[in-house]
Structure formats: structure tokens, C-alpha cells
């Protein structure tokens, strides 16, 4: 990418400064002292990250609105979407747990996608969006609190547990959630600091 060959990079984990230079036989540069990752050779371009984020936005909308699973027992049937599950937890008197689930599975992933779209569209045409520095910091927090992959495994686990009790089947939301997990992983691999290299 547009990283200056001779630039300096300070290890995030131990603070040791390095002259940025990727070993020719490796794809990942590691700190010589604490072995934390300093940078990667194969970076996604702004356009690729934008495309992945748009796909993630579509997957997110399906994952949130479509039922994650359905359960039928003696004629009655129940389906559950994520907002419903959070609402039920709230009504059961577990408000704090409901808020925590809403932040980690619903709001943080939404911020993860929305802020990236807001930043990536202007960057892809060579402009710097207003409040860019704030957005990068907010994206860092959104990435920390977003736990889509854990939630996906949580849905699978509940499904297996319910299978013994009644007739449980996965819904379209679960498949969207699986896609979202993979998309988030590839978007996160691109990192956040690289966004600054595209700002003039």
C-alpha cells in the first residue's frame, strides 16, 4: 500500500520502535521483542473493504430481522429474532443482561458497519470525511464490543440444546449471522490504522 518504505512503526504491545520493513519471505511483520503483529503484507484496498462492508450491511439487516430459529411443541410454534430475544430478557426483569446483549450483538455491530460506510465512501473518492479522527476511535470501540461470532455460536448452541426438547430448526437469520461473522473477520483483518494512510 502507500506506506512509506522507510517509515517508523512502534509496537502497540510493548512500545519498541521499528523501522518498517517486511521480511521478503513472510506476510506478517512481528515485533522483534514481544512478537506482536506490527503489520501485514497483503492489505485490502479501500474499495475492497467498502465492498465487504456493504455486504456486511446486507447480512446484518437479514440477521436482525429474520428469525434465528423456530421451535414447535404440541401445535404451538415460536420463532425468535434477536430484537425479540432482547425484549423478552428485558420483560423477564433482566434489564442489565438485555442491555449487554443489545450492545454486543445489535448496537456495536451496527456502529461497526455504519461508521465504516460513513468513512469509506469519502475515502474511496479521495476525500476526508468530517470528524474522521473521532470515527476511527469510535470504530475501535465498536470493534471491541461487537461479539457477532460469539453470538452466532450461542445461537447454534441453543439450537442443539432445544433439539432434545422439541422440534427446533434454524431460521434464515442464523445463516445471515454466519455470513456476517466471516465478513467481520475479513474487515477486521484490514485493521483501522490503514485508513489514515489514505488521508492526504
Amino acid at each position: 500500500m502507500r506506506r512509506v518504505e522507510d517509515s517508523l512503526v512502534v509496537c502497540e504491545q510493548c512500545g519498541l520502535p521499528h523501522r518498517w520493513q517486511l521480511p521478503t519471505d513472510a506476510t506478517i511483520a512481528r515485533c522483534t521483542r514481544c512478537e506482536a503483529i506490527l503489520g501485514r503484507a497483503h492489505r485490502l484496498s479501500i474499495d475492497s473493504v467498502l465492498a465487504l462492508t456493504m455486504a456486511a450491511a446486507a447480512a446484518y439487516l437479514v440477521a436482525v430481522n429474520a428469525p434465528l430459529m423456530s421451535l414447535s411443541l404440541r401445535g404451538g410454534a415460536e420463532t425468535a429474532t434477536l430484537p425479540q430475544a432482547i425484549k423478552v430478557a428485558w420483560e423477564n426483569g433482566e434489564q442489565i443482561v438485555a442491555v449487554l446483549a443489545a450492545i454486543t450483538a445489535l448496537l456495536a455491530p451496527a456502529a461497526f458497519i455504519a461508521l465504516r460506510l460513513y468513512v469509506l465512501f469519502p475515502l474511496s473518492v479521495g476525500r476526508k470525511p468530517p470528524a474522521f479522527a473521532w470515527c476511527v476511535r469510535a470504530l475501535h470501540q465498536a470493534g471491541r464490543w461487537s461479539m457477532v461470532e460469539v453470538f452466532t455460536v450461542g445461537v447454534l448452541l441453543s439450537l442443539v440444546r432445544l433439539a432434545g426438547l422439541a422440534d427446533a430448526s434454524p431460521g434464515p437469520g442464523l445463516f445471515a449471522l454466519g455470513a456476517l461473522t466471516l465478513l467481520f473477520a475479513s474487515i477486521e483483518a484490514a485493521g483501522l490504522k490503514h485508513l489514515w494512510w489514505h488521508v492526504r
Binding site: I86, I96, V97, L100, A101, S158, L165
Partner: protein
Amino acid sequence: MSAAGLLGCESCGLVSADVAGDDPALVQHCPRCGHVIHRTKPFSLQRTWACVFAAAVLYVPANVLPVMVTTSALQRDEHTLLGGIHELWLDGSWALALIVFIASIAVPVLKIGVLGLLAWSVRSKPQWRRLERARLYRLIETVGHWSMLDVYVVVLLAATVRFGPLASVSPGLGLLSFAAVVVLTLLATWSFDPRLIWRDPPAAAVADDARVNPQPAGADGRLA
């Protein structure tokens, strides 16, 4: 501590000269993005200890109180974390029991133990097995959020199993404590600054300025 007097911005990665040093009154900002930059996060150890201690205390009710209450036509059952894992094991789904055990028991215990060890060793054993401690920190940073798994499972089961008197599931008080443990261990992990592992304690005689006494690691040979 950066031996060469250089600091990296945590938000944008820009490298700046270390102007503030160890003076807590001087706050240095990144010239490119405006983020606060420092050698190590302020009050890192105090915050880590506070969160680890609170998490360890709350871990007791999280294990003793039921996390989930199931009611059916015949009976009402309360399930604790370990009880739920035991039931899964007895049902023959030992793989699931293992996953839940790792997420709900092993990961929180590991996080509390490792963070306690890391925070303790910064002061008491600064030079002991630094690379291994740095790796331990990266490990708990990576696996940390998986302990949310059981919280999600109970929330989802409570939302799906709603057949009135026939069968229903509701969250128990233990779940609240467990969720608090998860959040507190996450906050503790983020409060701990791994750069503390590599900091030498100031020598008793020349304690004023750490830059007077640079680490050998700053020599050019160590630069990648």
C-alpha cells in the same frame, strides 16, 4: 517505555517524539489525529486491580446462584453454570459440555488469574519471563469475549421456549452476576497496558528520568 524516545499513536499509528516523558502533568496529543499518546496508560494497574478484584468477588454468586430456571408441566428446575455443564455431559453431548465449560468456566478463571499475575508481576517481578507474559496477555485478549456465550444461550432459550405452563425458560439471578464478571474481565483486560511488562523499574539512585538510562533494546541492532 520507548527506549528511543518514540511513541506510537494507539489510534492512527503515527510515531511522535516522547515529549511528556513520565511527567503525569504533561499530556501529549497525536499531531495527526489528536488522540492522547503516552508511554503507558495512566492508572493502568489500579484500574486492572479494581476490575479483577470485583470480577473475582462476583464470580462466586455467578457460580452458586442459578443462571437459568426451567419450568415444565411437572417440575421447576434451577440450573447453575456447572450444573448445566454436568447435565450436558450426562446427556451424552460431551462436545457441547466441553465448549460451554471452556467458555463459562475456563475462560473467566483464566482471565482473572492471568490478569492478577500480570498486574502483580509488573511491580514484583518486572524482569521475569517477559515474552511469556506478553503472550499470555495476547491470549486472554483474543479469547476474552467468548465467555459471553452462556449469556447469549440463556437469553435465546428464554425467548424461544415460551409455551406457558407446558414449558418455559427464564434467566436466573446468577446470570446477572456472570454477565457482570464477563464485562469486568473485559474492562480489566483493556485497562492493563502490556507495555508495562517491558518497563524497567526506575533505578533507586537515578529515578528522575528514565531516558538517562535507556534500555539496551533501543540499540539499532534490535530494530526490525
